[in-house]
Assembly symmetry: C2
Homo-oligomer: 209 residues x 2
């Protein structure tokens, strides 16, 4: 019968959603096994029939976050393309700004993507890594327009650098540790960074040799 397996799937779904809510409200450190068990109405030990351990749960939440981020970046990229099909730099800026907006609107879920560390001895499963890589296409596509004569290798390296750089600006800009940078200012920083790199590429293409 489907009763057992189906209800397990349903409960697993509830569990992931409860975990997502908990992280979104209280951050990764606010995710408690006992609280989740209470919320989905099962015993503490039953969690481990739905999920190997907390790491897997966090990865599943991360998977949902990445999927939502992917949709966001897609929309931003398409909108920019519709507005100015030949402005590849503008598309890069749009993706970067969308990334920043997503991080601002989902601060704790977004942070969890980076601050979570697997328990000692465990490795990030392959599917989780693949999901992260998927997102790169939003950067690689405009870059291909911007650098038609560069090799795939060079483009990939530059794409990763660009992503890392924007990510760094967003991560430090949204850090609660220091005073929060106002939205407009952070957006300007990001746009300036991307445009400066693009202008640099145009002026001195040999820099990425």
């Amino acid at each position: 019968m489907t009763t057992t397996a189906a209800r397990r799937d349903r409960q697993r779904q509830q569990l992931v959603e409860a975990a997502e809510r908990a992280i979104a409200e209280k951050g990764l450190a606010g995710l408690k096994a006992r609280e989740l068990a209470g919320e989905i109405g099962c015993a503490l030990g039953a969690l481990y029939n739905l999920v190997r351990d907390m790491d897997e749960l966090v990865l599943r939440v991360g998977s949902r976050t990445l999927a939502r981020l992917d949709v966001t970046l897609d929309r931003a990229s398409q909108a920019a393309f519709s507005a100015a099909p030949q402005d590849a730099a503008g598309r890069l800026v749009a993706v970067a700004l969308a990334y920043c907006a997503f991080a601002r609107e989902n601060p704790r879920l977004w942070r969890t993507l980076f601050e979570h560390r697997m328990a000692e001895g465990s490795e990030v499963p392959e599917w989780a890594v693949a999901e992260q890589m998927q997102l790169f296409r939003h950067i690689m596509a405009p870059l291909a327009d911007l650098l038609p004569q560069a090799g795939d290798q060079q483009r990939f390296l530059l794409g990763r650098t660009l992503f890392s750089a924007v990510h760094g600006v967003v991560a430090i800009g949204l850090e609660e540790k220091l005073v929060a940078v106002p939205r407009q200012e952070l957006d300007r920083q990001i746009e300036a960074l991307v445009r400066l790199v693009c202008a640099g590429l145009a002026a001195e293409p040999r820099l990425i040799r």
Copy 2:
């Protein structure tokens, strides 16, 4: 008598050094109160006479890390200045590469600077924030040469953006999660990023309006 206060200071020093060793070897998650107490030869509870809580201990270790980083950046900046006094961009590159080298050579201590979060309800003390700000001067000085006619505000914003961008590239490049990026390649990425931004500044100064 100095006996009490002096021995406390001595023990506190030992404690911080033991904590630094523990973090350097096993990461922030490998820092255990009981282990430290054993190492400096005191009871578990006595730690709380030397330090308010673990957060303070981590901040003290962070302070030492920042001091060593400061020395490293200073040396790199001065060496670049001696080699080419008027090459401000080269000095920026040198500082960025030194930052990357420091992170690579002190991966866990460096990571701790960013991954540590205060316990709920506590705030990062003012002296710790000031120490972080101190480091900005290594970026601000070359930037002042590079943009003599920009305002302090603009320069500061660009400096922070530049730091954040380089930090992001280093952070993601050294992530153990994915395959480690080879040293040479990471250095090239960082140099390319900084030089691209500098070239962009030269070609399109209006971008930082």
